[in-house]
């Protein structure tokens, strides 16, 4: 419990550090894009003045930094020039959709990866296992955008099992009942979540296989075998829980990568979440939105890894967690 508190405190520090880093980066960029975003001709004077006052663009840098932190704490993330609305609104719109996609992809991918890794460890050395292992590496090697394109080409265009992009069917969505609407969203969720799950599973299966192989030679496993337990019991009841700790620790490394991966997948599937929002904002020089996105993702990741660490500790308190 004390560990959890300490970890939470550390996460808070990390979040502030993330915000600071984002601030530094955006001001390091040539031409200082943050206040320069005010030069966009489509901004009205009123908005420009308000932003200038709030973020203090004419003040010394340190004061700008403090104002920046204070604004963010209050929930004011600035103005999105491209979308013509406060950044907080744009993010509030998009965030739940990303959480839906990521949660589904993460859960499915982790489950699939663990299952695959376990199977690989159990069948190690066999031809089938080597083939599957190669398959996992190939999926790991293919850039995400190619995977996304491949999934669309096969499942959406050729087989027509799932829609190609978007989150709802524009034509019919509003006419459906609540159950129909939910089904509509789920149908559209299938492909992007599957692509994300594939990516996650490829990584997770490799790590989990290695973890299982590290655990299997241990003494207590041999003892379990000597006691006459079936191989299946040995693997599933004894080896797996001990190896899981590694996968959960992997979560710490996986979550930031997931954010990025989700971004590419969102862009290609036109899933209107944070990833696509950030993409378009970065490419379109909508700096307030990008900074807010970076800080928010960083904060979520810090929180996520802290939770992952605490869960891993719960699984195996004896493990030395050198965070």
């Amino acid at each position: 419990m004390r560990f959890a508190l300490r970890r939470a405190g550390q996460a808070a520090i990390v979040i502030v550090a993330v915000a600071t880093l984002a601030f530094v980066l955006i001001h390091l960029a040539p031409g200082d894009p943050f206040p320069t975003a005010l030069d966009d001709p489509s901004l009205t004077d009123a908005v420009r003045a308000r932003l200038r006052a709030q973020f203090g663009f004419d003040r010394p840098l340190f004061e700008q930094y403090l104002r920046f932190l204070w604004n963010y704490l209050r929930g004011d993330f600035g103005w999105s020039v491209a979308r013509n609305m406060p950044v907080a609104t744009a993010i509030a719109d998009a965030l739940p959709r990303t959480v839906l996609l990521m949660a589904t992809g993460l859960v499915a991918g982790t489950a699939g990866g663990v299952a695959l890794g376990t199977w690989q460890a159990a069948r190690r050395g066999s031809g089938a296992e080597r083939l599957v292992g190669l398959g996992a590496v190939v999926v790991y090697a293919v850039p995400e955008f190619l995977l996304a394109m491949g999934m669309i080409a096969l499942f959406a265009l050729r087989l027509r099992w799932f829609p190609m992009s978007g989150i709802v069917d524009a034509r019919s969505h509003d006419a459906l009942g609540a159950a129909g609407r939910a089904a509509d969203v789920l149908r559209h969720l299938a492909l992007p979540a599957a692509t994300l799950a594939l990516v996650v599973a490829a990584s997770v299966s490799r790590y989990h296989r290695a973890a299982m192989l590290a655990v299997l030679p241990e003494d207590y496993i041999r003892t379990a075998r000597a006691k006459g337990l079936s191989e299946r019991d040995v693997v599933l009841r004894h080896a797996l829980p001990n190896a899981m700790g590694a996968v959960l620790a992997l979560g710490g490394l996986l979550i930031p990568a997931l954010f990025g991966g989700a971004a590419v997948i969102e862009k290609f599937f036109d899933w209107p979440g944070m990833g696509r929002l950030m993409f378009n904002a970065a490419l379109g020089r909508d700096y307030h939105l990008v900074v807010a996105g970076v800080v928010l993702s960083g904060a979520l990741v810090a929180a996520g890894t802290a939770i992952a660490d605490v869960v891993a500790a719960a699984f195996d308190p004896a493990q030395e967690l050198d965070a």
Binding site: V14, V18, L21, A214, L283
Partner: protein
Amino acid sequence: MSTEPRATRDLLRALAADAPSRSALVTLALVAGAVALAPFVAPYDPNAMRDFVRDQFLAPSWSHPFGTDSAGRDVLSRVLHGGRVSLGVATLAVAVSVLFGTLWGAAAGYANRAVDDVMMRCTDAVMALPRILLLILVASVLREPTAAALALLLGVTSWPAMSRVVRAEVRALRSRDYVIASQALGATWWRRLRTHLLPAVLPLVIVNATLAFASVIPLEATLSFLGLGLHPPTPSWGNILLDGTDQVAAHWWLVLFPALAIVVTVVAVTALGDRLQQLLDPRGAAL
């Protein structure tokens, strides 16, 4: 130090002994060789356009084994030269991340608890930033992304993982008997670092660097695919792909060959990294 050449030879022999890693080594050698010798091996100048109307989108043939792109340029030559860019950027990026990550991690591992905490929180913060967003942001701000700038960018986003690994190992080792003994004998911290700790860390660094290399290549391809990589006409595996994505069925060679190049290289490097990990770091501390 006299043991090093032998250790290297032993390592290579161990790698060659296992069939998958042997084929991985051979594949990598072929790819690296072809790419390094691109100016001599490539049949055409990668940017040459003789008649960009007539030579457009030619399917693979004897005169153009990988076909031509929208401007009539030979795709094989572009893939070869593009490899120089993609692999060169990846190598440089990994070098940056190894250098910086090792130094940072060793310093953190060796310092006292307070300094270590601060350094590691910084690392956590950098790791928490979503890599691809950061890359897109900075790449879009740079007016002229040279290959070196891209490599620096990619390296800077990869070092946290390396530094965590190094720090953990250094931390674990510094309380070992022989290190304390050498300190008692009057060795400076620099000498202790160099003689005892860094050699112990080296295997981990090699494994991590190999896997980092494998992860940077697709990242560079994604950036180029989004148009944030090098400016035209410089080819890279990512932007050759870009030409074919509009009509993939009709212009399949523009997608297949660069994708194959990326996948084959990354699979080979990953397989190699896996085997290296089995040999050098069985405990999995490098992950």
